[in-house]
């Protein structure tokens, strides 16, 4: 028989320890799955590690994967702080990428030095608007935002597919349905061999942390997230805070899309989202919506994805193992939160009988 009691206090060290145990148990669970499939778990995990940070090249690839994940997680964390369940990051990334591509390909008159800033601005704006629409429905009519934001992902995907196979198709690519490559002015510069997205991510991490803790608007976001009644009581215009914050949330995701087309693919494809928008939901939540933690967790998840790709070639295990691993880690860490909050007391059977 188990008795439950709420913990009155748990040191941050012990809380972290419980969460890390959760991650270890997740790895163990997936390890057992590998074992059943006939692979040596340590070997597989070892090569995932090697494939993600084992060499300078692999490390670079992992960082490239981490960048959009970090920035999209920032976006999601803003909306989640208000308990606005924006799961439309994927669509917002796609629309941001679309807007950036429009600037890159169809505004030839733009001075060279203005191309990248305009691309970024367009991506922020369009990604933000894509999310903003859902917030309008939510604030105006009280429509459940979860499903709407998700549906918008599919609409965005169909939109870019349409462009890729229709009006934006590059005639120079002959029969291959692809959109033209960007010119050099529309491609992100590199620092240490990695496009400057990583600098942007780190700067944003600091800025966001400060924004949430030390600005009036950040304070309002926190109050609204805690209780809309308290917010109303304090004279906060709840609807406006939600609208602005969701716009910012979508804008950051849009920026992630711009970094993808401008820094990685150098063109727009229907695969630009690549599931980052969904993974970012996990990373944002696992980081308790705190921006410095998001950087660390996102890097770890980028390692999983990069390592998953690596074992696909090394062991012929599907790269989707990474996805399973991510979900399982989330399951375990979500579950471990319970043990951070509550203490289990085992009451032995004999004692129980004795009471009886």
């Amino acid at each position: 028989m188990v008795h439950l009691t709420k913990r009155s206090h748990l040191s941050p060290k012990n809380a972290l320890l419980i969460r890390l145990t959760g991650i270890l148990l997740a790895l163990l669970a997936v390890g057992i799955m590998f074992l059943f499939m006939g692979y040596e778990p340590f070997l597989v995990f070892g090569s995932m590690l090697k494939g993600s940070i084992g060499s300078a090249y692999n490390f670079k690839e992992t960082v490239l994967r981490a960048i959009p994940l970090i920035i999209a997680s920032f976006g999601i964390s803003l909306a989640f702080r208000m308990k606005f369940w924006n799961i439309g990051a994927e669509g917002q990334i796609i629309m941001g990428a679309f807007a950036a591509t429009y600037v890159a390909l169809f505004m030839p008159g733009l001075p060279r030095f203005l191309v990248l800033p305009t691309m970024a601005a367009a991506a922020l704006l369009v990604g933000g608007l894509w999310a903003f629409v859902t917030a309008v429905f939510k604030v105006r009519f009280g429509v459940n935002e979860t499903i709407i934001t998700l549906m918008m992902n599919y609409v965005a995907l169909q939109w870019v597919t349409y462009l890729q196979y229709g009006p934006w198709r590059d005639p120079a690519a002959l029969n291959f349905p692809k959109i033209a490559n960007f010119k050099e002015a529309a491609i992100l510069p590199k620092i240490f061999g990695i496009h400057i997205g990583w600098v942007i991510a780190l700067v944003l991490a600091g800025a966001l942390f400060y924004f949430i803790r030390h600005t009036a608007f950040g304070y309002e976001i926190n109050v609204v997230g805690e209780s809309t009644n308290t917010a109303r009581y304090a004279g906060i215009h709840v609807g406006r805070v939600v609208l602005i914050t969701v716009f910012l949330s979508g804008a950051l995701c849009g920026l992630a899309g711009m970094l993808q087309v401008s820094g990685i693919s150098e063109t727009l494809t229907r695969d630009v989202g690549g599931g980052v928008g969904y993974t970012a939901i996990i990373t944002a939540w696992l980081s308790s919506l705190s921006s410095p933690v998001i950087v660390v967790v996102s890097f770890f998840f980028a390692m999983l994805v990069q390592g998953g790709d690596y074992i696909q070639t090394a062991f012929n295990i599907s790269a989707s193992v990474a996805k399973i691993l991510q979900a399982v880690i989330l399951f375990f860490v979500l579950g471990s939160e319970f043990f951070v909050q509550y203490r289990l007391k085992w009451v032995s059977k004999e004692k129980e009988e004795g009471v009886r």
């Binding site: 439950l4 709420k6 369940w85 799961i87 429905f137 009519f141 009280g142 429509v143 459940n144 979860t146 499903i147 709407i148 998700l150 549906m151 918008m152 599919y154 609409v155 169909q158 939109w159 597919t161 349409y162 196979y165 229709g166 969904y278 993974t279 939901i281 996990i282 939540w285 599907s318 989707s320 193992v321 990474a322 996805k323 399973i324 991510q326 979900a327 399982v328 989330l330 399951f331 979500l334 579950g335 939160e337 319970f338």
Partner: protein
């Protein structure tokens, strides 16, 4: 538009709608217990891939369907354990389940790409004409010259409609979803009700996946559910948590999806990608309409999305 086109459209719409119907009823059961499970898409995919694999291995329809339902139930069990016993956030846990199910399906399905279900299994889903009823003008052929899955859908609607409205467990379930503390005080085991109905709901989502991969698209392809699980979640709201209304809304959506496909055959100067987006746009639209209309009509279980814990102090 001729009558035969319309009949053909509706007949196909009912077939596609049945995919949505199973998942919608499953999610109604789940939500009636006060749990919002956003893992429908994931459970459908798990059911689809497990059902498909089983059909290849056993060539047995029964085994494939049962296996698919077990897979869906297993996914729901993970969700149930986390949200009911460990009180995790329902939204995030449901999302995690969708991610897990998607990953699981593409992992398990990596070597299935392009394979077909065995002939005898496929044959099982050919239309069965109901004598008498199928002779009703117009609706007879649309509703009663269908495969067995469609009839199963009708049956489930009625069974669960009666279950929710006219039985003791159904009443108790409503109490759990509306006010778990009241249900608890009345001697109803809240956790047991939640577990049973969440898992049963998952089994129905698995069934939906099986129909998808065994009958509707008998060739394996990645992400065969294509967001239908999410549409089902929206249809629950549109149906105001009633299995009877679920039948109507699922068939409406099935028809909409087919309409897009059929209209592409005509030379309409509109891109086919627009038609592909119709179900998603329609979902957004009906959600807004359903929410606007909901002010008068109640239906949302009052404790939906909230964890219940008796010794909360």
């Amino acid at each position: 538009m001729t009558i035969s086109f319309l009949m053909d459209l509706l007949t196909a719409g009912v077939q596609v709608g049945t995919i949505l119907l199973f998942a919608t009823i499953g999610e109604i059961l789940t939500e009636k217990s006060g749990n919002l499970n956003l893992g429908v898409e994931g459970m459908m995919l798990m059911g689809a891939v497990v059902g498909f694999t089983t059909s290849l291995a056993t060539a047995s329809v029964t085994a494939s369907i049962l296996a698919a339902m077990l897979a869906g139930a297993f996914g729901a069990l993970i969700y149930a354990f986390l949200t009911i016993s460990l009180r995790t956030n329902q939204t995030v846990t449901g999302l995690a389940l969708t991610i897990f199910g998607t990953g699981f399906a593409s992992f398990a399905g990596q070597n299935l790409m392009g394979l077909r279900v065995p002939e005898n299994v496929n044959h099982f889903f050919e239309p069965v004409i109901v004598p008498g009823l199928s002779a009703i003008p117009f609706f007879g052929p649309v509703l009663f010259r269908q495969n067995l899955f469609v009839y199963l859908g009708y049956l489930l609607c009625i069974v669960f409609g009666i279950y929710l409205n006219h039985t003791r467990p159904g009443l108790n379930l409503s109490m759990v979803g509306e006010n778990p503390a009241a249900a608890d005080a009345a001697g109803i085991s809240v956790s047991r009700y939640k577990y049973v109905h969440v898992v049963a709901g998952g089994a129905l989502c698995g069934l939906s996946g099986a129909y998808l991969s065994l009958a509707y698209i008998p060739n394996w392809q990645e992400n065969v559910s294509a967001g239908r699980g999410w549409i089902a979640v929206a249809l629950v709201i549109f149906s105001a948590w009633s299995p009877y209304r679920a039948l109507f809304s699922a068939f409406l959506f099935g028809t909409l999806e087919i309409l897009g496909v059929r209209l592409q055959k005509f030379d309409i100067p509109i891109s086919p990608y627009f038609f592909d987006a119709i179900p998603y746009l329609a979902t957004i639209l009906i959600l807004i309409l359903a929410t606007l209309g909901k002010k008068k009509r109640h239906g949302t279980p009052a404790a939906l999305g909230l964890a219940y814990f008796r010794e909360e102090r």
